[in-house]
Amino acid sequence: MLGLLAALVAAASDETRAETPAERGRYLATVGDCVACHTAPGGTPFAGGRAIETPFGPIIAPNLTPDRASGLGAWSDADFLRALRRGLRPDGARLYPACPYVYFSAVRDEDLLAIRAFLATLTPVANPARGAGFGFPFNLRPLMVFWDALYFRPAPFVADPGRSMAWNRGAYLVEGLGHCGACHGAKGALGADPEPGVLGGGRVRGWFAPDLGGDPRAGLGGWSLDDIERYLATGSNGRALAAGPMAEVVENSTARLTMADLRAIALYLKQDAPLSQPAAAPSPVPNGRIGAAIYADACAACHRANGEGVPGLFPRLAGSSAVQSARPDTLITVVLHGGRAAATGAAPTGPAMPALGWRLDDASVAAVLTYIRSAWGNEAAPVSSEAVRRGR
């Protein structure tokens, strides 16, 4: 019974499209966003060569085109399944979990093999780039055995018969190919991804991928299903703009998914009933006047004096979950180094936030961020100058 349900879930979005496995695979590879990592900047899609940042150092995502020597041309289907399920290469070497196989292990054989069928249709490109620049001891691939033993339990997706088909489809996409938790779940000390279903927020390349749970301030508690769908489909809804790593996810992946799949993802993410608003006593803001002065002079032109922003152009800061996140990484990165929001067919502008690190010293950035985390009814911990210094 459960097996049948799982099969239905995997097929849920497919009934409208009578496709070959390779066509299905193209769509599923989009869900998995393989192209984001397995493409060098400016390089041929899927031909590998991009260095992926990990907590231990950069590691190159290799060539997935069917080139026999440097790509997957000589791999069997079983080789492919073993790599994406268990992180094992045909030669027995272990893959670093920088490739999110921890999530892919939940994906059904048929879907993985469809991706393989799609990859096999690509033009072979010779690009032997691979390998990692880790320091000892993480440069020892065999050590990954212990990592795997500690953290990795390959687990096929199990549908919840008590939930709707759409909800289960959402769970399958989020916890499987979509690997949302690779960024939105807190990383353990060894770079381990969290338990499936834990999307409590995590740090990625200087950004903070917010809590996707029901917290009304820092999470999606205040978002409607439509808000989530529009964000994933266009990168922009009246509340937030997707920037940084999420802009890439939206442009390469979620903006290209069917509305049915986006609705399924939204349903799954909204599974937790919104938590009741915690009634915290407003705490006095250190340097409130200085932060307010900087905001008025350097930020209000775009984000408006009342923090409401301009829909689709300048994100709202009032009530924003990104602004009230547990960790201020995104805020520090955006103010110091600037950012660019996703540009999608439906929202093609891709507005950019200018870098202001040259204009504001650490104490000023800390003061203005502390201000936006406590103004207009926002509530989140102050940001220290020290945290800003580390973000430079």
Partner: protein, 192 residues
């Protein structure tokens, strides 16, 4: 770039060109001399953007200065010539030690060409000092002058604000926001 003695003379000059009064601070307090010093030490002072190969012929006034001498060299030569003149004419006293009325008289004579200084084009030198003093008074404070935005406050210039959309519709209302420089304003650092 300037020596302490040269800087003292220049400070005295800028404070006569823009004297402190009831409307606000003068050139000295506004940091004009520091601005000039920094400009002379930089590409402007070295004439980096000018074509500096001979021949040098006297041109028409419209053609501007025709000289291999950089602003830094001209500034120093002028300051030295002024000092030499003062020491000879006022029993060893430096320009900075003259009473304000005496300083004004001397500078006015140089400006209108009735006083020459040995070895330099005194009028051209005066033009250079006056031009740079005004720049120092009104340029963004990030360059060392216009301290506390004295120049901008005097004329009501709002500074480098991003835009004024919030004010566009407020016809007839007084604009009250303090000026902001490229590097911010005093209120960004102390709650002023």
């Amino acid at each position: 770039m300037l020596t302490l003695a040269e800087a003292a003379t220049l400070e005295a000059i800028v404070d006569r060109l823009i004297p402190p009064d009831e409307l606000g601070p003068g050139g000295r307090e506004a940091g004009c001399a520091l601005f000039i010093d920094r400009q002379l030490a930089g590409p402007f002072g070295r004439s980096e953007s000018l074509y500096l190969l001979p021949p040098f012929l006297d041109g028409t006034p419209e053609q501007g200065l025709q000289s291999p001498l950089t602003p830094a060299v001209r500034m120093r030569a002028g300051l030295a010539a002024l000092e030499a003149h003062c020491r000879a004419a006022f029993v060893g006293r430096a320009f900075a030690a003259l009473p304000p009325a005496g300083q004004d008289r001397l500078l006015s004579e140089i400006e209108d060409g009735t006083r020459s200084l040995a070895g330099v084009n005194a009028r051209a030198w005066f033009d250079l000092v006056l031009q740079m003093t005004m720049e120092g008074f009104f340029a963004d404070p990030i360059h060392g002058g216009n301290r506390q935005m004295a120049g901008w406050r005097l004329i009501g210039f709002p500074g480098a604000r991003y835009d004024y959309r919030d004010w566009v519709e407020r016809h007839g209302a007084a604009y009250t926001l303090p000026p902001v420089g490229i590097g911010g304003r005093p209120g960004w650092h102390d709650a002023g």
